[in-house]
Symmetry: C2
Subunit: 243 residues, 2 copies
DNA sequence: CGATTTTCATATGTCTTACATTTAATGTTT
DNA sequence: AAACATTAAATGTAAGACATATGAAAATCG
């Protein structure tokens, strides 16, 4: 491993990159222990704080974990879908909020991706997925539900739909698209009539999934997207008119 | 901001989390300068190396950038789609390689997502997107092309297709799914006949995109998925039989 | 002899101090 | 007024020390 002390980037960034490359290329395998911080410092010819900064960078990406104590050290992490999802959600959320992505664009992307899951989910969903969807619909119909709780239940409903496809790659990718919409949805106040319409559409989706009809599921999702878009449009228009 | 010194997690992780929360919640806005490392150390009542480890964690996620010199410091980054994509690709690639995701599952997810882009891309693609697709097809037909170069061109072709949808959120999400497949594709040796079939399917996709026919694009994508799946299956079967 | 306790070595976590380097603003000189 | 030198503030890096967690070996006791 070679480090260029005259590079324009930090030593810790270079070291992190070298170790990251070793993990990606397979030179370092899952659960393998890295040399101790002192050994790494000697190998790269830097001080221990610099090595530690590099390791923290990798830890922030869940590429390694550290253990204290006698047999401790830094170990290559098995990057799990569960561990990667929160990261993915945080990044997606920030991307939307920092780049002035319109509600329309985000909504379009989300429903396009969800429709991609529709035929697979219709074919493979378990009774468990269906039960979750029904339960969330029931929750959404409860009176006195706050807008935040309504949106959270909406997210849970859609995630059950996506998970029904039984494809962890899809579930991972969709988690970002679905969850990142929540802050945008939370900007909307849902009237009782709005909620009733959305719940009816959710029931249509659940029915199509229960009937294992992928085409009908996609159609129902398109209807829900349409409803969401027009609802958002009217809310934003009213808000703009008030000023 | 409060830090619990008796927590089970590192001080630097807690500090990074506190700053991250401030960015997500909007308390810290884009391009705002954080306090200097010395000031942060005093605020959180920790030493400067600990603060630095926290900042490196955030830098690894592209949440902040640092500048040296008199007016330097740590600044909140505008998280751009361009900056987030490499991260997304790295994570997706590692997820596939570390979790024994089958070629079949990854391929299914990728083409399902791509089909989601088909109608949008057919409707909105610019001449530029179409030209890129045609150029990549031409490159793929060149004799003497290595398998790696063929796969790289394949990725470029599909990314042009996805970008044609004109939705940055979709392009971002799809980048991970498409690029992460490349290492898996590179495990396949393409015969001349295989390449010819794939190129023909690519031409069918490009034709459908040119005709702005979303349905035909989706159908052509399904055909390509089928071809890819059977090809991979035969390659892996032959490899298993050799042992 | 076996089980328990103690000791110990090793590793990460944290603090302190110091110095190097970069960079912009300020001051000085010609 | 322009060019140059100085300075101050910030990050980058190094070195050493101590605290703490933890597993393993050694010592002790029943």
């Amino acid at each position: 491993m070679k480090i260029d002390p005259d590079s324009t980037v930090d030593l810790s960034a270079q070291i992190a990159g070298a170790i990251r490359d070793a993990i990606i290329s397979g030179s370092l395998i899952v659960d393998e222990r890295l040399p101790s911080e002192a050994e790494l410092a000697e190998q790269f010819d830097v001080s221990r704080p610099t090595v530690r900064e590099a390791l923290k960078r990798l830890a922030a990406q869940s590429l390694i974990r550290t253990q204290r104590g006698a047999t401790g050290g830094a170990f290559v992490n098995r990057l799990s879908f569960e561990a990667a999802q929160p990261q993915q959600i945080t990044t997606s959320t920030l991307l939307l909020s920092m780049n002035a992505v319109s509600f329309e664009t985000a909504c379009e992307a989300r429903y396009a991706l969800e429709r991609a899951c529709a035929p697979l989910s219709a074919a493979r969903r378990t009774p468990d997925h269906l039960a979750t969807m029904r339960a969330e619909i029931h929750r959404q119909a409860q009176p006195g539900l706050t807008d935040e709780a309504f949106c959270a239940s909406d997210v849970a409903f859609h995630r059950a739909l996506v998970d029904g496809a039984g494809n962890p790659v899809l579930s991972y990718q969709l988690a970002g698209a679905v969850e990142a919409m929540q802050p945008l949805m939370n900007m909307i106040t849902f009237t009782a009539r709005d909620r009733a319409r959305i719940i009816a559409l959710h029931e249509g989706i659940a029915d199509a999934i229960e009937a294992q009809d992928g085409g009908a599921t996609a159609t129902a999702l398109t209807a829900l997207e349409q409803e969401t878009q027009t609802l958002a449009q009217s809310v934003f228009a009213a808000r703009a008119a008030r000023r």
